[in-house]
């Protein structure tokens, strides 16, 4: 069985809060966490995508995961809240600083595009409001075939009972549509007390209509496949991988410096030229 992961810890400016969250996650038994940078492009000015804080700057010593005697792995993730199609630029170099790329579509058209076209890893399902659209089988199945995963987060359900209703309702309607496949349950926690243990999350996912097996996969193997999908995004179909040889090998994945010319991995767009 693959290890437990929580791929959504909300980024806050306050470092101590973030450190407490990572420590708690390690204590609860999560082997990998991702710090999530929310980004909502505004219509007027040119959007400025936040640059991730390197993990080494955040914490000197990463805490040891409970029962595994290995330090926790921390990743960076970007979530785009999209209300228009031009908010997503597929070739933006800013995206490369992040290990995972997620979008939260707000209209049905964007949801369709996110499922079928965009080169992303995660589609977030809104849990704080009534669903603005219905899930349709075709795009959802398309997303599953492409390896894109749907995410339901539970910390809003802990905060407020109205949100809890929306979370459960939206999750159920998603899971009815995708039959429990490719669903990932994560926390979206803003502080340490909003995190729950992996087995708690597994049990909670039962309420969303997932089967016992899918519940466990929602915190473990689905997350693993998201990570692998995120890695293939940086490579040419997962076949060729470019590594900068000048920097020493590091276990932690850090954010690469932004302005670098040699740091341009062959993206999927260039697939034909690579395979020739």
């Amino acid at each position: 069985m693959s290890v437990f992961m929580d791929l959504n810890l909300t980024f806050t400016e306050d470092k101590s809060v973030l450190q407490r969250m990572i420590e708690t996650a390690a204590q609860l038994g999560f082997s990998t966490v991702a710090i999530n940078y929310m980004f909502e492009p505004k219509a007027k000015k040119k959007p400025q995508i936040p640059a991730p804080t390197p993990i080494t700057e955040l914490m000197d010593q990463l805490p040891v995961v409970q029962g595994r005697s290995r330090p926790i792995r921390v990743l960076n993730r970007l979530t785009l809240v999209m209300s228009d199609s031009f908010h997503f630029r597929s070739t933006a170099p800013e995206y490369r600083c992040f290990d995972l790329l997620a979008v939260q579509p707000t209209t049905e058209k964007l949801f369709h595009a996110a499922c079928m076209v965009y080169d992303i890893d995660i589609i977030c399902v809104s849990v704080t409001e009534r669903l603005p659209f219905f899930f349709k089988r075709a795009p959802v199945n398309g997303a599953i075939d492409r390896g894109v995963v749907f995410e339901v987060s539970y910390s809003a359900a802990i905060r407020d009972s109205t949100m809890r209703r929306y979370t459960i309702a939206n999750a159920i309607s998603l899971i009815e549509c995708c039959k429990g496949k490719s669903v990932m349950v994560s926390s979206a926690a803003e502080k340490a007390l909003e995190l729950r243990g992996p087995y708690d999350v597994t049990n909670l996912s039962l309420l969303f209509g997932l089967s016992d097996k899918d519940c466990k996969e929602a915190v473990s193997s689905t997350c693993r496949s998201v990570l692998l999908h995120g890695e293939t995004r940086k490579t040419a179909s997962g076949i060729i991988y470019t590594v900068k040889s000048c920097s020493e090998a590091s276990d932690q994945q850090e954010a690469p410096p932004q302005s670098e010319t040699c740091e341009a991995p062959p993206s999927k767009k260039q697939k034909s030229s690579v395979t020739e």
């Binding site: 609860l28 038994g29 409970q66 029962g67 595994r68 005697s69 359900a157 802990i158 905060r159 009972s161 809890r164 502080k191 007390l193 909003e194 995190l195 729950r196 243990g197 087995y199 708690d200 999350v201 049990n203 909670l204 039962l206 309420l207």
Partner: protein
Amino acid sequence: MNVDEKDGSGVYQRVVLKNSSPYHYLKVCLVLEDELTRLSAVELKHFIITGLKNLYGEVGAALSFDLLKYDEDTLTALLRVYSRGLVKLWSSLTLLGSYQNQACAFRVLQVSPFLLALTGNSRELHLD
């Protein structure tokens, strides 16, 4: 339940549970934002029932569970619940997020159909 005992050694006893066990036992620990707050056993049980009622309504609040043991200093409790009510009780514990307007969280430390299993915790072992 089928208890078979070997003759020579009365020390060891093998217990085989044929049917699924009637109860599940949970060891939970309440973590509060303000660490100085103390709850009595009655307050804790009432708090859990409130959580059940919030999530499952009156029918959920009628779910019977017992608080077998409670340590006020560490806020650690042992709960016993009918196996069919386990998912309900556990999910309501998960979704409890505030106690008297302060953030809180239930950390479910162990869950087992056997009370004896809660005497030790394999996750606290240090692996090297």
